[in-house]
Point group: C2
Chain length 279, copies 2
Amino acid sequence: MLMSERNVQRPYEELNKLLDEKMRSIKYKVAVVSGKGGVGKSFLTASMAVLAAQTGKKVGIVDADVHGPSIPKSLGISNPQITVGPNGIEPVTGPLNIKLISTQLFLPQDDLPLIWRGPLKGRLIAEFLSSVNWGVLDYLFIDLPPGTGDEALSIAQYVKGLTGALIVTIPTSLSKLVVKKAVRFCGELQIPIIGVVENMKEFICPSNNIAYPIFPGNAGKELAEELSINYLGSIPLDPRVSECMDVGVPFVLKYPDSPAAISLKKLASEVMELVEGSS
Amino acid sequence: MLMSERNVQRPYEELNKLLDEKMRSIKYKVAVVSGKGGVGKSFLTASMAVLAAQTGKKVGIVDADVHGPSIPKSLGISNPQITVGPNGIEPVTGPLNIKLISTQLFLPQDDLPLIWRGPLKGRLIAEFLSSVNWGVLDYLFIDLPPGTGDEALSIAQYVKGLTGALIVTIPTSLSKLVVKKAVRFCGELQIPIIGVVENMKEFICPSNNIAYPIFPGNAGKELAEELSINYLGSIPLDPRVSECMDVGVPFVLKYPDSPAAISLKKLASEVMELVEGSS
């Protein structure tokens, strides 16, 4: 159904040509998907991008969460200058030369909502992918909003040659239920699954070093087993993650030796290995 | 714009008549809104419903999060029998006779995703409100998904005489940014704001009783001040909340003397006072 939608609609022809062109010069396109909100998709997207850039890769991010865009703030990008050049809209540049596009960058005031129904949101995402001057990239990470609705469908439809989806969950079984839907969604749309990562695993109390599971459960491992997908490990719950996102400094750069950053580095190299090995 | 949409479209005429009728026999309609995912909307919705029902009120819940419905599982409702009677679809009944409707109840398997674009989701919510035999209720709580898109717009459009919105945030300033959008959204659509509650405030370490702000910040109070809305207090982060939701037992019934339950009871009576006092 999506295939026919893609091909028959006349007004999309030009868009499709552009999409093809732009996506061709991006080697790996990785969607960060969860289904559930508040599990740390944006944090993981930004961390993956920073860690890939640290290894010398050329990296871009599409913040596809049009209602709750978090990436610009978390990467310290405020009051950016969006410019339009001969090759389209210029993405803004974050730390380590990461290129970024987000609805947040187009709002006159950062606390204004985007009150849009689905079809418009789909179109916006198509514009992000086709009208932005991404140039040649090794990696484009796409931060999806919660749910299996318009934004996710549009990414599946418009990202030509999507490499795969990185699935994010928190440990609870309620999260597992919702995230499982997202995995099934990827299956329906033939999006390959890179693997599942379990975020906010446990909080290590700084005064007694005991690990407390604030969001108890084993959703990551269970999802991996039940759906036969890769389990990519877990990330502990570190309050400094929120602190860093709030002040716009990448956590993996500020606290590179913390257990959470070490887990993230392991995750990033595993994801890159899986992605690059499969191509 | 919404007003004209509401009135001119012929196919909606019958629906509108039904909506009017059904909503008239429900005294207070409270939407639980956040903008951001994973802040505990479903937990708060379920807790408010249980606490209102405990005071003898007749209570219903619409789980409007069509992609990530959490209410049935969190209230222990699995494998329900949906029946259709002379007065429409019968909602299922949860603890304390709470009436509930959710997309989850219509899925043949609970891990299947609803891969729907916006317009269909809006229509589904209209059906929930108009075709369900709610009967006479004191309270209908509506659990909205993250974002200011189709589902939220549909609730604003279809719930005749929406009493108001209860805004939920976690303490971080990133959450504040996204939740602020939701408050502005309510303003645009002339939905009264009941107030803002700050969830997941801090974790009290069970071994040393020290309070750790896992998600640091003061988004609740700051939002209240900056937007001149009521601050309704905060709820501590208790790992037993997730545990209870995972096994389907209302936390406020299982741990009524816990600090989180005490905060919730205070919140519920304040919300009910505000809502009933303003009518």
